[in-house]
Structure formats: C-alpha cells, structure tokens
Symmetry: C2
Subunit: 591 residues, 2 copies
C-alpha cells in the first residue's frame, strides 16, 4: 500500500499563485500570516497527515466504528491520533484568536483539511463537522454560550456535531419534526436525527451537538425551525462536566465507505428530554445553518480533491511498480506506467485533481477576502465570487472524484478489485461526497438559481471576462500554448452562450432550470478548472528556470487538460441547451 | 429493496427488431427456434431470475463465499438454486444438441445471461465461466475428452472454470509459468493460478478446470502455452468419480464486490502433480483460449447491461416511493421522480442501458449468423461485424455501467450510501466488469488495432454507411425526430473522421494508437448505441398504435439519448484527435 505524501509544493503554488494568499496575508486579520509562515504550517500539517493519520486509514476501513449500548466506540488508534491532533493545535488553526484560535486564513485551513481527508477521510470528518458547530456558535449564539463552549471546541478538547437530517427530512428540512419545549433557561429537546457524523465517540470528554428542532408554537416549514446547543454532558457553572444529557447515539449505519466515521442515529429525549440551549432567536435556525453552508460545502469539495489526490498517488505508485507486458515503442518490458493508456488515465486523474484543487482554494480565499477585506466593494465582489464558485467547487470537484477514484481502481487491474490493495477504499469513501452537504443536484440548482439567474449573470460574466483576459495572455505565449488558448476561447464562448440561454429561457417552463442545472454546473466546473490551470501555466512559463521539473509539469498538465478534458464542456453545454422536454416526457409509470 | 423484474418485452424487442432474431431462427441450426419459442423461454427465464436468483443476491453479498481447509463453501441457498437451475435446463440452453444442449441461438443465451446476472451477478458467473470451458472442450478437445466431460458440463451436473492468470501474468499471458510434465496418457500439472472464478464450491460433485501451462520444452512466450483439462475429481472409465485430483482452492479474495462469487487462488500439484489432459495440440493453448474470447467478452458486456438495468430498476422504485420536497411546477409534494434532475438521471440510466443492450445483442446475433449462416459471404460479413462490435460491447457497456450504477446510488441520496438499501451493491459488483476478460484499455486496443487499422477501416466504414442509411430514414420521419437525425448525421461524420484520422496517423509514433484508443472506443460506442436506439425509434413509430406506452417510451428514450448522450461522442473524438503528445510528455518521475 502506498503512503500518502502531502503535495505541499503544489498546494503552496495554488494558494500563492492562484488563490492570492499574499493579498489575504496583507489584511489586518491575518497580519501574523505570511507565505513563509503558511509554508511552514503546510509542511508540518503534511507530516502529521502522513505520519499519524494515513497509517490509520486502512485499519479504520477494516474495523469501522461500533455502537454498543448507546455508545460509539471509534476505531483503535483514533483517540491517540486525535489527542495528538489537538496538541498540534490543528483544530484551532483557522479559528478566531478571540476564542483561542490561531487565526490563519480559511484557505490555509482548507489546505490542511485536504491533507487530513486525503490521509484519512473518516478522521478528517470529525474536525470538519466541528468547524461547522464552532461557526454556528460563534456567529449566532449568546456571549454566555460562547463563553461556555467555544474555547474548548476551538482547542479540540470537545468535538462538535451538526444534527439536521431526520428520516423524512433529508434535502427538505422544512419537514423537521424534532421538538423543543421551553423549560426555564433551557429547552427540552426530543426527536430522532439520522446521518449524524461523529455523533458519539470516546475520544473526548464531551460532544457538543447543534440540533435543529421546533418550539411548540413554531410556524410550519422552514420558518419554524430553531437551533439548539445540546451537549452530551451538561456543563456546570465552573466549566466542569455535570450530568449525562438525554442525547444518545443508538446505532451507526453500515455504509459503503468512511467506515471509521460513525454515522449515527441520534435519539434525543428518550428519558424525558435532552437539555438544549437556544442559539440566537427562535425560528431562525435554518438561516443560521445556511451561514455555515458555504464553508461546509467548500470543505466537502476539498474532500473530493483529497480523495482524487490520494487515488492518484496510489495509482502512480502501482504503475511505477507493476511489470506487465512491453509497451508499444519500448524495447524491453517495463512497468505499466510506460503504457499509453495507463498514462492517459494518470493524466486525466492528475489534471482534474489539480484543476479541482484550484477551484476549491480560489473559492475559499474569496471568502477570506469577503470576510476580512478592508474595502467594502472588494468584500462585496469577493463574496459574490465565493458564492458563485461554492456550488461548483463542491459539486464539480466531488463528481469528478468519482471518476478519478474509479480510474485509480482501473489502473490496478484485477488487484484494484481486491480490497487489500487499498485503491477500492478511495472509490467507496469518495462516493458520499456528491451526496452530503447537499447533493450535486442541489449544488447545481443553487448555482443556476441563486448564483446565475438571480443577478442576471452579472458575477458570472465578470468571471467570463477574467477567463478571456487569461486567454489573451496565454495566446501571447505562442504555439506551445496554442491548444490551451483555443480551448479557453471556446470554453468562455460556450459557457457564456449557455448562461445567456439559461437566463433567457428559465421562465419557459418551471422544470427547465432543474433539468439543465447539472450539465450547466459540469460545464462551468470544466471551464473554470481549465482557466485556473491556464493561469498556472502562464506563471509556470515565467518561473520555468527556477524548477524545471515542477513548472514544466504544470504546463504539460494544463495542456493535457485543454486537449483532453475541456472538450467535455461543449458536450455539457449541448446537453443543457437541449432543455427539459425529453427529460420530462415520460409519464411516471413509463419508467 | 426492490425486486428484479426481467424486462422481457424490451429484450424481445431488441432481439427481434434490432438483432435480427427471425433471420437467425431461419437458419437450419435453429430450426426448432422461433419468435414464440424464444418469447416463452424469456418469460420462464425471467421468472427464474426474479423468483430464485434475485432473492439470494443480497445475502450472497453480505455473507460471501468462504474458503476453509482448501475447500470453498458457497453462500447458503446457492446450491439449491443451482440445482433448480440445472433442472430447468438453463445451462444447456445455448449449447450444442450433440452433447445434450437445447441449441438455442447464442443471442438468446445472452438474453438469459443478462437476466441471471441482473438478478445475481455472483451466481451468473458460474454458468458464464462454465460456457467458456464447454466451448474450449467442444472446439478443441479430442472426442475421447468430449465424451467424458461435455454432457455433464452441458447439463450442469459439473461446472467448469478457466485458469489463465498467475500473479506475474495478468493481461500478459506470455509469462505464464505453470508446468505440465508428460506422464503416460496425461500430464502432471503444477503451479499457482489466481483470480479463478468459482474455482471451487460444493454445489456439484465435480469441477472441470481448463488450465494454461507449459510443457518442459515449450518455447518461451505465448507460443509455448498449452491447454489442459484438470478435473477436481478424476473420472473413471465408467464415468463414475475416482480419486481427488491434486488441484485445490487455497484461498478466496476479499473483494469490492461479487462477494458470493468465490475468486480463488488455485494451487495445482502441491502433492506431486495434478492429473491433466491435453486439449488439442501442445503449444496452441493461447489460440484455443482466444476462440473463447469473443464469447466471454460479450457475456461481460451483458453483465454491464445487467448491472445497469438492475440499478435503474432499483432507482425507479425508490424515486417512485420517496417523498421529499415539492418539485418545481408541482402544486403538492410528491415523490422525487417529479424532480427534473432525478428524472434526468433516470433517463441517462435508462437510455444508456437500452443502447448498451442493443449493442451487445446485435454483436451476439452477428456470431449466430457467422457460425451458422448458410452463405459464405454472409458468414464472413457477420463475423467481421461481430468482431468489430465485440470490444465495443464489452468495453463501452461496462464503462457506462460504472456511471449508471453510480447514478443509481445518487438517486437514493444518503440512503444510497447505506448498504442495506442495496443500491451500493450494484456499483461494487459492476466495478469488476471493466477489468476482467480484458480491461477497457485492452478492448480499445483490440478495436483500434485488429478491428479498424488491420482492414483499413473496411468493416468500420460499412457500419458507418448503415448508420447513414438509418439517419436518412429517421430524417424522413419529420420534426419530431429531428434531433435524432441531426445527432446521427453528426455522429457518423465525426466517427468516420476520427477513424480516418487514426488510420492515417497510427504510424506517426508507436504510442499513438494506445493513447487514443479508449476515446475512440467510447466515441464509437456512443454513436453505435445511438444508431441502434434510432433504428428502434423508427420501428416504434410504425408500431405505435400497437402499444402506445411501450413504443412512445422507445421514441422518447431515443430522443433523450440523441440530445443528452450523443454530444459525448464529439468530445471523445476531439480527445482522441489530440493525439499522444501530452499523454506521453511527462517524464516517469514527474508523476
């Protein structure tokens, strides 16, 4: 089994050259950050991911988490790794210094998140969900609640969970039924939540659940949902732990992947009611959750990148090791990396992984600028860009990770189908990423509705203009870059064409946006990914002499993507422009 | 969990209207076959698949096959099902009447093979591999060997296996090392074989292994490989079973899918040598295996169709059952089949499944005609067509089954990731189909080298001409079919263009054919699938009044495919035409 090596140089390149980390580090909030500090952090994170988390990945898959007597036992070794993770300050890295955080940019946090997930996605989910819970409390809870919970969550002493889904309420949270009955300074929470990631474990003394529920007179639908903090153990005034709260994991799911991440059925209030504390105001719970949404979705996008990169590294190692047959044009038998089709698959994996990493990091750094920029217009534009890129970063990066992890299996041949090889685990683990935190369909609807149609394509067109500016730069570099330039010109044109078509036709019938959304999103992801690789190729051309091996690979990878990935964009555009008629034409009973 | 319902009407439509079953049934060999007989057979096969095999699919996945003390114990229930399978005459269905077979066309055999595999792919693999062993003996063994083995294998009383792969010899059989030492009227076989499907079990009294090995003075490479019959139990002159042969399953693989199909490591000759009988002549073993290859590959293509169809049926059932949210344009909440993106995914699944079924059945019936036709030129042309379509049927059908089974998971949302739902099993099971019996890369190399370049595109162009003829028929049907007509015109043009480009450029550099082969094959599969759906739409238009629901669905499905699947062909053509330069540009150590 191959080891995971964090691609620190590549990550640093994307952060600095494409995601504008130096501008972010100039903002007052990040005055302690700098390229050097960040590089040192990435190096250390890479070592931790490789040395501590990666070795637990396979054992976690084999043994999984278990639930016995309403308590989850995580895989052996995870508790010790988590303790080291806390001691390393990794939970605190992107958090607010006011509550003990290190205050590094979110985009740097995303880079570490990619590493934790590539090394061990089941482990990575625990701090990832914790970030969501921290964010919800920090943004919306009272100072009293913040004082009790935040420092311990930021340090990692306690973990956090997000309790949204119920059996009847998945993508549609309007039908959440869990109840919250007021009682003194708190509420009594009851109900069943499903798909609760790391809903219980023995790694920390306490687990802080963020729970959506309805108060007795709440209106129906999404406007009657409130958000509560429900700790596993109540917290005394002096900060010590009190009674066990009435909130239990009653089972864990038997899943296709992420076996070591306990996906819990949580039961609240079986013995009278779990004590919960209202976050912010009643009935605003869903809005509060939505403020966490971009962050959570971008992190899932980074998980897609992580799975793709891990699968790529594993496949490269195998292709460099396995001897089979003589490749066309070679005189002697060699390893299978000499075979053109193996190499084609590796290049597809490599180029799409790099493209999706760039899309995710650029989206994340947009929010660094949007949240902490010093100029209002700059913040507004950065926010619009981050909002536009988020569903693409999540939806596209995770969709292509299905293909990339599957190619990873394919490169291993028959051995890829044997679990001991390890390649199949990435395919199984990656499979959840297009589903949780909003399915691909939901991302695509968000993109086409809230991000394209709502502002009539304004931000989208601003992006297209930037693609065209890059195209002009690339074209000026001459013949070697010709296929990149032509693919970008074509990509920008067809993306603008389909965007205009959608804006013009979305009122034709109510099914149209939903029917074309995923193809629109896949086209956008393909072109934007190609644009960012092209920007990277321009920079690499200028820096070629500094490190020929690294920068020439950036150029070749961008060219491969232009020639062999960009044609997909046109196909998706044509599919989208065929509209909704044939999608909707069969009667329900003709399927 | 949904039940499997064999799509008998659809299968009958493809056999009769697209695969020319009536012409096949007119051949002397098939004089007892007719459309009515075949329909009755399909009905019965469908009942058997649904009633006996499908209920064992999930239990087989959960429990798997085990190997203890060099003996494989299959999943509980499989032995009884296999006994019923034998009693139903299902093994014998496509076999030669001379040895007790029912003598139905291979294409009808493929239809039943689709059903067995859709219901329970792990079970289906046992008769599928057995067919290969029967074919090898029937085509190449002496009358004496045939007399001993064939009737019992055709009846299903004994099963058969194919022992090719060794740890160092996967796609490259030139390096097979197993030995065969002559001893009297037989040979003593020794060596280790891996990935041996159904290499052992307790369902029958005997298992007949077909084994590739080298005699002492055999030349190196593929020209020194011989084929042997190695029974698990020796057979006495009176046909009764004798001693246990020195051929044992020593372990089974722990795999991503097909858990109930024991994938064995076989050890021959640990106790002095397994008694083996030479098939045909020494050193011709690989050639003998190759005569089985088309058949085996087509059957794996049918497995792709089977997995796709099962995943589709499962997803339709869930989409018709799960209530979540209100679809755009609907007044009330309904099941998720009302959501445009769910419907888009179902239509992608449905249309590609139908297209791949048509490709596989047409390929199979070409061989019915090639092997049993009465006119030499007709046989030659049918054989060329079958040869051309085989790598596409295998490679393309199984590649798209990865996407289709993954969409099946996606439609289930979070439940799709939970194993109890069953959707994930199809994804796991399907994953092997692009690997065994020659990977997708090997299929594509076969297509581009032996089927396109070798005859300079002659048969390929004959196919393009037929596509253009269908295009003209479709165009004459008017506006409703306009997108089908235009997609076929475009598809035929770009397919011919890329074929000509390959023929012209394949000598440019030795890596080129291998680098572009998979994209060429995917383009060809996409267009040929669209062509067959278009032929179906023409027929459906004429028959619409006979069964409006069925035939209108055929037309809508063909139109959806034309609009939303056919654009992929152009993309693959562009990828192929970008050549090999960027695929080969990175140095091995730059990956």
């Amino acid at each position: 089994m191959s080891d995971y090596i964090a691609p620190v140089k590549e990550i640093s390149f994307v952060l600095n050259e494409l995601a504008g980390l130096s501008q972010v580090c100039e903002l007052p909030r990040f005055e302690d950050s700098s390229e050097d500090v960040v590089d040192a952090v990435l190096e250390e994170a890479g070592k931790f991911a490789s040395g501590v988390l990666a070795p637990l990945n396979s054992v976690g898959d084999n043994e999984g988490a278990k639930c016995v007597d309403n308590a989850v036992q995580e895989t052996a070794g995870f508790a010790e790794a988590y303790q080291q993770f806390v001691e390393g300050g990794w939970v605190a890295l992107p958090c607010n210094p006011e509550f003990g955080g290190m205050g590094l940019p979110e985009s740097v946090g995303m880079a570490t998140m990619e590493m934790w997930n590539a090394a061990n996605i089941s482990f990575g989910l625990c701090p990832m969900l914790g970030q969501g819970a921290i964010g919800a409390i920090e943004s919306h809870a009272s100072d009293a609640l913040k004082a009790i919970y935040l420092e311990k969550m930021v340090s990692g002493e306690w973990t956090g969970t997000m309790n949204l889904t119920e059996p009847q309420a998945g993508s549609d949270l309007a039908v959440v039924r869990s109840k919250a009955i007021p009682e003194g300074d708190h509420y009594l929470i009851s109900g069943t939540k499903i798909f609760i990631t790391w809903g219980d474990h023995q790694m920390t003394d306490n687990v802080v659940h963020l729970v959506l529920a309805r108060t007795p007179d709440a209106p129906e639908g999404v406007k009657g949902i409130s958000l509560f903090v429900v700790p596993k153990f109540l917290v005394n005034d002096d900060g010590s732990l009190g009674e066990r709260n009435d909130a239990y994991a009653v089972s864990v799911e038997h899943k296709l992947g992420i076996h070591a991440s306990p996906t819990c059925v949580m039961s609240f209030g079986d013995n009278g009611g779990a004590v919960g504390y209202l976050v912010g105001e009643e009935n605003k719970g869903l809005a509060y959750m939505f403020t966490m949404m971009n962050h959570a979705r971008l992190n899932v996008g980074a998980q897609g990148v992580a799975m793709s990169d891990r699968a790529y590294q594993h496949a490269v190692a195998y292709a460099n090791d396995r001897v089979q047959g003589k490749a066309a044009g070679d005189k002697e038998k060699g390893t299978i990396i000499r075979h053109p089709d193996i190499r084609r698959m590796l290049m597809v994996m490599r180029s799409m992984t790099e493209a999706s990493r760039a899309v995710c990091y650029v989206a994340s750094s947009s929010f660094d600028m949007a949240h902490h920029g010093t100029d209002e217009e700059q913040r507004r534009l950065a926010n619009a860009r981050g909002e536009l890129l988020t569903p693409i970063a999540k939806g596209w990066s995770t969709e292509i990770s299905q293909e990339i992890t599957s190619l990873g299996v394919q490169i291993h041949g028959g051995m890829g189908f044997v679990e001991e090889t390890g390649a199949a685990q990435y395919l199984r683990d990656a499979r959840i990423t297009t589903i949780y935190e909003g399915t691909t369909g939901i991302q695509a609807n968000d993109l086409i509705g809230r991000k394209l149609i709502r502002d009539q394509g304004q931000e989208f067109n601003r992006l297209i203009d930037e693609i065209r500016a890059t195209q002009a730069e690339v074209a000026a570099l001459g013949d070697e870059m010709a296929t990149i330039a032509s693919s970008l010109a074509q990509g920008a044109d067809s993306l603008q064409q389909v965007a205009n078509w959608v804006i013009e036709h979305h009122m034709d019938n109510p099914q149209l946006p939903g029917a074309v959304a995923v193809n629109f999103m896949m086209a956008a992801g393909t072109v934007i990914g190609g644009w960012l690789l092209a920007k990277g190729a321009v920079i690499a051309t200028a820096k070629l002499a500094e490190d020929e091996s690294f920068y020439s690979a950036k150029i070749i990878t961008a060219r491969f993507y232009a020639e062999q990935i960009m044609p997909r964009a046109d196909a998706h555009v044509k599919m989208a422009e065929s509209g909704s008629a044939m999608t909707m034409a069969l009667a329900d009973d003709q399927f």
